[in-house]
């Protein structure tokens, strides 16, 4: 686990520094306008605020390239803006307009774009995006696209089964997935301490054998730096990375929730660490901008938001009959994979392999581990296993052909010969002699007992 700091961010150009400000401020101003629209009853459903968390959405998504894929959560409007969606998409989604990306079928940040912006729509159930984005990363690798995928999860969402299944699968597949865990201290009304008994949620990465980082989520440059490192790591084929960004949810779960359960001093502590004033100070102290530049960017944001809000407010609601359309793809989409590698590589005979596991290490207690640990009887077990006893490494079938798999040290022939039980013979089916013998024994056994058994259902 590493702790990221702001210093490494100095590789950014002036334009990029200003971009980060633009997107954070755009994110905040957009959401403030939506609060006003909510109070005017112009937002049809709920409104979830990312106030105070803008540095995470923006700093993480900014580390991605256009070919990369992301899947936002409800508080990642900033990430959508960075990925190229416009404020009008967010306004129209919340106002349930026909002009919205989902044409009124879903709201909030529940939309995406497969073709251009490579964005997967979230669902309300937490954790499900992690296996989905693992699959996107696996498909990207299979097609030779060299992409990285990114999604977010909260401290609360990290308690779900899908989080575990997804991250574990990503780890075993060494998928190019960056998972950003936004620890905003509160899962609805439940504090993080009641969700996870860990000081750093990034420690969960240890359980999956993957790399992790902890970062100050209110420092946009630190967030960007940590994420860029993670993205580079993923692209190089080193497997998934879990980044914990510490922050604070500065509003209730949604607009209806006054968050009276949050101790006042907590809000005060974090208000003093608001990511936008912090970053403004950073830009000023390093002379990256001046008051005129700030005014110029702020004015641009106002202009863009004015135009897009007007567009959204003047847009029609969808025609009622749309409700019954589109549950199925009836040929409306042409499905075609974008191959960046020769298809021959994954087509027989080139793809064909010897399908069996090999076990160069034989399981049992690791000798180094035993030397350090105080486990009763462990040393005896290790001694009985012999001097080669080490942690098991079972190699994937066809590992020599598949570059992605880790190559363990080659085992000696003696070791393999002494472990026939660990080799699962391929084809243990009807054609396998052993299987045929067992089956005939079983059926003879059955016939002996046939009198005692109830008759089988006939067909």
């Amino acid at each position: 686990m590493s702790v990221a700091s702001s210093r490494a961010g100095q590789e950014l150009s002036r334009e990029q520094y200003l971009d980060l400000y633009y997107y954070m401020q755009l994110n905040r101003q957009l959401e403030e306008r939506m609060v006003r629209l909510f109070r005017q009853n112009k937002i049809v459903g709920g409104l979830y605020s990312s106030l105070g968390q803008e540095a995470i959405s923006v700093g993480t998504a900014y580390a991605l390239e256009p070919r990369d894929w992301l899947a936002p959560m409800i508080r990642n409007i900033g990430a959508l803006l960075v990925k190229g969606f416009k404020p009008r998409d967010i306004f129209t989604q919340h106002m349930a307009k026909y002009t919205s990306p989902t044409r009124g079928k879903d709201g909030t940040s529940h939309f995406g774009d497969l073709k251009v912006r490579h964005t997967v729509s979230p669902i309300s159930m937490l954790g499900d995006l992690i296996p989905v984005m693992t699959g996107v990363a696996m498909a990207g690798r299979y097609l030779g696209q060299n992409i990285v995928t990114m999604t977010w999860i909260g401290d609360g969402g990290s308690s779900t089964g899908a989080f575990h299944e997804g991250l574990n699968f990503a780890a075993t597949q060494r998928a190019a997935l960056v998972l950003v865990l936004e620890n905003n201290q509160w899962a609805y009304s439940t504090p993080v301490t009641r969700q996870v008994p860990l000081k750093n949620l990034a420690d969960r990465a240890k359980a999956y054998g993957i790399h992790s980082a902890v970062v100050d989520g209110n420092d946009v440059v630190a967030v960007y730096t940590a994420t860029k490192e993670a993205v580079d790591r993923c692209r190089a084929g080193n497997g998934p990375v879990l980044i914990e960004a510490k922050t604070m949810r500065m509003k209730g779960h949604a607009q209806h929730d006054p968050a009276e359960y949050v101790p006042k001093e907590m809000f005060e502590y974090w208000k003093a660490r608001d990511p936008i004033p912090l970053y403004e100070k950073y830009l000023t102290e390093r002379k990256i901008w001046d008051a005129a530049k700030k005014a110029e960017i702020d004015a641009r944001i106002e202009r863009e938001l004015d135009a897009d809000q007007k567009f959204a407010e003047e847009s029609p609601l969808p025609p009622p009959e749309l409700a019954e359309e589109g549950a199925y793809c009836d040929g409306c989409h042409k499905i075609e994979a974008d191959w960046k590698r020769p298809k021959e590589e994954v087509t027989p005979p080139k793809s064909s392999i010897q399908a069996e596991w090999t076990a160069p290490k034989l399981g049992g207690l690791d000798a180094d581990f035993v030397a350090k640990a105080e486990i009763p009887g462990a040393k005896e077990v290790a001694a009985a296993n012999g001097p080669t006893s080490q942690a098991a490494v079972v190699v994937a079938p066809g590992a020599n052909a598949a570059k992605a798999a880790t190559q363990p040290a080659p085992a000696s022939k003696d070791e393999l010969a002494s472990a026939p039980a660990l080799r699962v013979p391929f084809g243990r089916g009807p054609k396998d002699k052993e299987f045929v013998r067992e089956r005939s024994e079983r059926s003879q056994e059955k016939q002996r007992h046939a009198g005692a058994r109830p008759k089988r259902r006939k067909r």
């Binding site: 989902t102 997967v120 296996p131 996107v136 299979y142 793809c329 994979a337 793809s351 109830p454 067909r459």
Partner: protein
Amino acid sequence: MAAITMLEGIRQALFEEMDRDPAVVALGEDIGVYGGAFKVSEGLLARFGPERVIDTPISETAIVGAACGMSYLGLRPVAEMQFIDFIACCFNQVTNFVAKSHYRWGAPVPMVLRGPSGGGVHGGPFHSANPEMYFVHTPGLKVIYPSTVYDAKGLLKSAIRDNNPVLFFEHKFLYRRVKDEIPAGDFTVPIGKAAVRREGRDLTIISYAAMAHTALEAAELLAKEGIEAEVIDLRTLLPLDRETILNSVKKTNKLLIVHEDTRTGGIAGEIAAIVCEGAFEDLDGPIVRVTAPDTPVPYSPPLEERFLPNAEKVVAAARELAKY
């Protein structure tokens, strides 16, 4: 040409589709080196390699989620549930993520989720279920449940080529018990079309999967008593072939529905409603159901025998219906 089993038919469909299109990949628990719990995918890994035949951890949610993510990049994954009962573990991923994707934001999910289902093999409460109706009640999915070798192969090919998420139920009692000669070469069976397995004038028996064979067996017994039953095999449960159902009822005027699924909320209720809406005037008697009772599938043979519908139960019900 030699007859092959339904299991072999399914295996052939997988091989041929993966040969035809490198976008088709397979993933699931123990499907690679081991060849799947029932050996459906035997030999798949050796031919197509570990990039296309993926052994996964025991994580149903991850299997379905990853398959969905793969399909977003234009792949056509075929995910296996080792036993279809375990689909309960990824219910959310299937019903909320996968099924709603195209409706909500226009993202098609061209994936197949297949697995062995059904009772009659003493699998007990967790290896015998027929959970199809959870998914028939989920718009956005297609649900297939074949009964013959030809249909299993042809429908699986159609499912893989379909742009929507398709659940493909494989009745494990039929895996090695049903054998048929099928034509060589590529063929498909259209999704959403029922088959009339036997023509008859006196009453219609509608069924699917293993019970389609039970219905046929019952029809032969009824014929000896002079009752000619028409037998319809649904093949696809979603979308349902209303036309074939209504045409048959309009011809025979009596309807009996047989399914291995439990009674309440089974597809018989939906079919009864369709017939009441579309052919009420044509009915000469009550719509009768022969189904499993509303219990889990029991383990012990006499209990399971009692649980499952069989030809005797169908004949008895049909005899009563024929009196109207």
